[in-house]
Symmetry: C2
Subunit: 462 residues, 2 copies
């Protein structure tokens, strides 16, 4: 059994198509950039079409193109409709690996780029950690801080998801060692030895992650990632502890006792690992977990599981780090997925990127580095992305999009359940919250056939 | 003895000031953004000034501000002049940690942002690895490929320097293991074990770096970095081999034999480490080195040293990876610093970022991953930065800036040598190529005093 959010997306697509009356070209105004949402998808060629295939051949001389699906025409794309170079207009529920927050060519983003007041922000990328721009604090207040997870008022920007996870990890190590030193400064031996990756300055510490987790592709982030072999094969990695993420049975209402036992077992495993790794001299400084596992199969756990996990972290004085790179920015109907968990206190660290357009992490004050230049790099983010985020957040609030996500989720998942009931041998484990979720097919092959047949149905207008 | 490029920059500043006649406000036109270069610096307050100090206090509620020097007004900055919020106009030779390629608010960059044809590129950041934009190949050809190091025709974009170093490292591991498998596919055991960071899928492999090297701040990049304790302290790191970067004696013409012996000794150490680490079962897959060490003290080695190093890599069938994040984009008078080395064949990998505005790496075909999704992440770079780079490269070519860099270097370093001769107890080891270089002070304290007194001289107009 293999599952993936793409399955769900295809289903939504199918559903949308069912209700569409006609396939016609999206309307573009005379401007270069599309300003009207097409009324439906319109697939004219196989995908990738002839123009994409020609470009693919050319790009392949420059780099590996194995992941390229097609070449897109971003001038013509609008809202949730992505148009490719062969003029195929697709209802896009994958949105650039879940990184487009309010659709293509949203007028508010166009306005933000065209606004003369923002011009120098797009032209001059500063070393933010050293020479922040005049309006940086205001920008942070109207963007990242305006949607900060409840109880968190500090934030560090970074350029991408992996960097956010890496530097959040560093914040954990710093806080752990500071507590261990009990206020004393590092020794000369520590300061010298760390330069050559030696003990005691380079300590034996570990971070706990979960099976099927995805946190990124640089060494420290990849060490926490356990999804597909192609992400990991051949790369040296720290050998850190990995716990089991609960694998719930559906429908939830029929499996209450079993699922409670599964989550209890997973929490016990975490406690056990914390104990074991302390004894073996490579203590766990923190737990990193997605509120909903994305790449690993849209796996959900209950609020009680996350409450229990936070309790374990508090009891052991280690960091509780929620990676909301994929779940943040409203996809669950609340701005942050962990707001569904009723945690007793804010998570210690919340990492973000993708739809937030900038990477970074929120943190509790005790995870602030006391020294300069430790959580740092040349750019530490990009104010031009924060300008865009500011516009995105304004739209989310003005258009009441969080409520809309909840409404869609409330409609969508019961509908998918109905389809599942119709095809019980083919579909299972429907699960979703807001607009994130999945359904399982019996095999990878079945899933691929289904996706492919959706494409074909649109293409041949069946 | 401690050295750093800031020293050199300060000297240039001093020199520039010597020739400036008056301190007056830079001329701004009625537009929001400055369009005229000030005729001289104009420092009106202490730095940071009162407005910067107020903003610092506010920002400190949100994050650690220990590295913040002052808040900048990027609307008012122009060319090499950086204006802060207290209206201090400074001749900026530090250029946002060496990441601004052609000065602030260059008209060509403003035009690129304002160009309607580029609008959707700034608005819609794609998942480049899956859905590249229609014009992506043309963009690559007019930007990154137009300045590719001689003999390299493949390039992978990334968002920042650390990510570039990390993914270049992964390309090395992939190529090494592919050679080891001799064309055979990975085993099922390898595919399964790598998901949990276990042998054999997660192999024991290492990368060789150099003392005083700086390559970035994420775990894999930081493992190669050996400059300041504050970058490294408390972070677990792979224990990989570290060789000695030659520490040359100056003036070079008086120390020919000694310097040759030093470089020979360093190369012998590399050969020795390759042998030792092969025997201990953690073979070195590649050597990563800066053509000129930047953060570690502007340390130069001779072309012969780099030729010898490449020979060793070829003989041992391992990767020769030049990290040009700091030295690329023309600062030495050639577009890439390694073009000064007369290498017998192109380096296997050349990483870049900073002034290139986008990160990434060029590579020889044998370092291309044969499988999709291995050198990959959500964004794999940002086309909007490539749009800016395209403009930068056009300006560099049209304005013949590489020649200008050579001319400045040819003037600058003999002048600094004259100053050194005047103060032999205070200055030593003048070294430079183009506009990158340094001079040493007797101690860190002396250096800081010198820098501080330059600021003061400008402030008090002495």
């Amino acid at each position: 059994m293999h599952c993936c959010s793409k399955q769900c997306l295809s289903l939504v697509w199918k559903d949308a198509l069912k209700n569409s009356r006609a396939f016609h070209r999206p309307a573009y105004c005379s401007q270069k950039i599309a300003t009207v949402e097409p009324s439906s998808p319109n697939v004219r060629t196989e995908i990738p079409g002839p123009k994409s295939r020609q470009l693919l051949k050319e790009l392949d001389r420059i780099q590996n193109t194995g992941a390229v699906q097609f070449f897109a025409d971003y001038d013509k794309s609008y809202g949730n409709y992505l148009v490719d170079v062969d003029d195929n207009c697709m209802l896009d529920l994958y949105t650039q690996i879940a990184s487009i927050p309010i659709g293509y060519n949203h007028q508010s983003l166009i306005d933000a780029v065209k606004n003369e007041n923002n011009l120098s922000t797009f032209v001059n990328r500063p070393a933010l950690g050293c020479y922040p721009p005049r309006d940086w604090i205001t920008r942070l207040q109207t963007s990242l801080l305006a949607v900060a997870p409840p109880g968190l008022s500090e934030v560090q920007t970074m350029a991408c998801g992996a960097c956010s996870v890496e530097h959040a990890q560093k914040a954990m190590f710093i806080a752990f060692q500071r507590r261990k030193r009990g206020g004393a400064p590092p020794t000369q031996e520590e300061l010298q030895s760390c330069k050559t990756n030696d003990l005691p300055g380079t300590p034996n510490l570990s971070v706990l992650s979960f099976k099927n987790a995805f946190h990124g592709r640089t060494m420290g982030a990849l060490a926490l990632t356990h999804t597909k072999p192609m992400h990991k094969l051949d790369f040296p990695q720290p050998k850190w502890p990995i716990a089991t993420f609960p694998m719930l049975k559906y429908p939830l209402e029929d499996n209450v006792r079993e699922n409670q036992a599964e989550e209890k077992r997973c929490l016990a495993e975490v406690e056990d690992l914390i104990e074991t790794w302390k004894k073996k001299g490579e203590p766990i400084v923190g737990v990193v977990i997605e509120p909903i596992q994305g790449e690993g199969g849209d796996n959900f756990a209950s609020p009680q599981f996350f409450q229990g996990l936070q309790d374990i972290c508090i009891q052991n004085d280690i960091c509780f780090n929620l990676d909301e790179v994929q779940t943040g920015c409203g996809v669950t109907g609340l701005f942050w997925a962990h707001e569904h968990f009723n945690l007793k206190q804010p998570p210690d660290i919340v990492t973000f990127s993708k739809k937030m357009l900038t990477g970074g992490f929120y943190y509790r004050s005790e995870y602030r580095s006391q020294e300069a230049f430790r959580i740092f790099n040349t750019w530490v983010g990009d104010p031009s992305k924060v300008v865009l985020l500011e516009a995105v957040i304004k739209v989310i609030k003005q258009d009441n999009l969080l409520n809309r996500v909840t409404e869609i989720g409330n409609y969508l998942w019961p509908e998918v359940e109905k389809i599942q009931k119709k095809y019980p041998d083919f579909l299972s484990r429907v699960r979703g919250l807001g607009i994130t979720g999945a359904v399982d097919f019996p095999s990878l092959d079945d899933r691929n056939k289904a996706i492919s047949s959706y494409y074909q149905k649109v293409y041949y207008n069946i």
